[in-house]
């Protein structure tokens, strides 16, 4: 009964939510051995080693800052070009550091426990990264901790695109290995090569676009199968990162979009009304919803400019479109 209620409905969310606070100390206790050995290691590290590490880190910082110099310029330019194309606007993202508390003891499930929860504003569906790429997304939030489902879990699928040419695919986790993804339903003729970098495509409206997911490791074209077997190695260090980054999106204020003059008044009204309706709807994670609004509004505008003055049947698609998104 209880299991059925938990898997099908949300009645027990609160029970789990508060019990999780009570058992958090146990997680800390379970992590004590590795933590103590880590701090002992720090304590007994020699001054020379610290100095060497410091020099290396300073050099790294210099190189990274050098690489950053042109980033601001490129970002601004990219945004201008996107606006010219009326493409979806870029969302600013802020990363917050979280630490790993543990991992799922179930050998068949690849989930991590991190030390930030709803008290810090973590929400279900939030992307989690490390320094090298996408790690997964938050699937369960408790007050002090949350569970992250890794991208290589067989229950997780990530919409990706090839960075080189924009070919889209879905990278699904595998039950066998922690370090392997497979691209699903890739045609044997698709332009995917070994060594291609895959980035998130953002088509799921959940994970932001443009973060590295993995590198294509091998492609097998079996003539007996209709699709190619493509194995991908994730770029994130799924078993080594102790520090992870939680991505918070801080949407920019939407630049005022000039609405095209239309003969159908109801249509333009619907366009103005609908986004505010979506934004006003009570949601758990307003930030994620705002992203949806931004993209929906932007992509809807060119639609109407093409169909301005056309039959009102076209215009009626506007509001229906928004309802679908919501």
């Amino acid at each position: 009964m209880l299991m059925f209620a938990d898997s099908r409905f949300d009645y027990l969310g609160k029970v789990r939510y508060y019990t999780a606070v009570a058992v958090t100390p146990l997680h800390l206790m379970a992590n004590l051995p590795s933590r103590i050995s880590g701090s002992f290691g720090n304590f007994f590290q020699s001054r020379n080693e610290f100095e060497a590490a410091n020099a290396r880190l300073e050099e790294e910082l210099l190189m990274l800052q050098f690489n950053l110099q042109k980033l601001a310029h490129l970002e601004a330019e990219n945004r201008r070009l996107n606006e010219l194309l009326k493409a979806s606007s870029i969302v600013n993202e802020v990363a917050v550091r979280a630490q790993l508390l543990g991992e799922s003891p179930d050998p068949f499930s690849k989930r991590l426990l991190i030390n930030k929860g709803s008290n810090e504003g973590v929400y279900v569906g939030q992307p989690v990264l490390d320094a090298y790429g996408l790690m997964g997304q938050v699937v369960e939030v408790d007050p002090l901790t949350s569970w992250v489902l890794l991208i290589t879990d067989p229950l997780h699928a990530t919409p990706v695109q090839v960075n080189r040419n924009g070919v889209r695919a879905i990278a699904a986790g595998t039950p066998d290995s922690l370090h392997q993804l497979t691209l699903e339903n890739v045609a044997t003729t698709a332009d995917v090569q070994v060594g291609d970098v895959l980035v998130t495509s953002g088509l799921d409206q959940r994970l932001p676009a443009g973060y590295p997911v993995g590198v294509v490791g091998s492609i097998v074209n079996d003539p007996g199968k209709s699709f190619a077997t493509v194995h991908v190695t994730p770029t994130a260090q799924l078993d080594r990162s102790r520090n992870v980054l939680l991505l918070f999106s801080s949407p920019e204020p939407l630049p005022p979009q000039p609405l095209p003059e239309t003969t159908v008044i109801a249509e333009s009204e619907a366009l103005v009304q609908a986004p505010t309706d979506v934004a006003a709807a009570p949601t758990n994670n307003p930030q994620a919803e705002t992203v949806v609004v931004t993209e929906a509004a932007n992509s809807a505008v060119p639609d109407t400019s093409e169909s301005s003055g056309a039959a009102p049947a076209d215009g009626a698609e506007g509001p229906r479109y928004f309802e679908g998104r919501e």
Binding site: M1, D6, S7, H27, S104, P105, S109, E140, L155
Partner: protein, 165 residues
Amino acid sequence: MVEISKQSHNLWVIALSLVFAAVMTIVPIPTWLELWRPDWVALVLVYWVIALPHRVGMVWAWTVGFLLDVLEGSLLGLNAIVLTMMAYIALTLYQRLRMFTPLQQSMTILMLVGTGQILVFWVQTATGRNTADNLVFVLSAVTSALLWPLIFVSLRFWRRSFRVN
């Protein structure tokens, strides 16, 4: 000795051993070892059921299993129902189990934990949370059975030194 047993049953020893077992369940270990991780909570629980069937029963099992569910982030009630089932079987068998040789006890533990693992597998598959397509998950029953004599002896020593009854 009689005065102590009248005043307190030292039930905290049982609780502490179960908490320790729960921590052992979530201690990070290498991935290849995870399949072999013994079912610590089941072992400790079954010991207490055999030793003190009038104190530790299905209510303890359900409570511990519930906490374990939250701890592991698994389906709420999964470990609770499995441990309750194990406690029920142990309660019906405890008089025989006490007479068994260590080897016979280990074999019983193998069956008990194995049944529990299969039940977990069933429920997880039915709710779409499991993607395993073989039976390697029963390996933990084997380790549990191998560890049972050690658990039995050390917990008996603990029970006697704290006079838990």
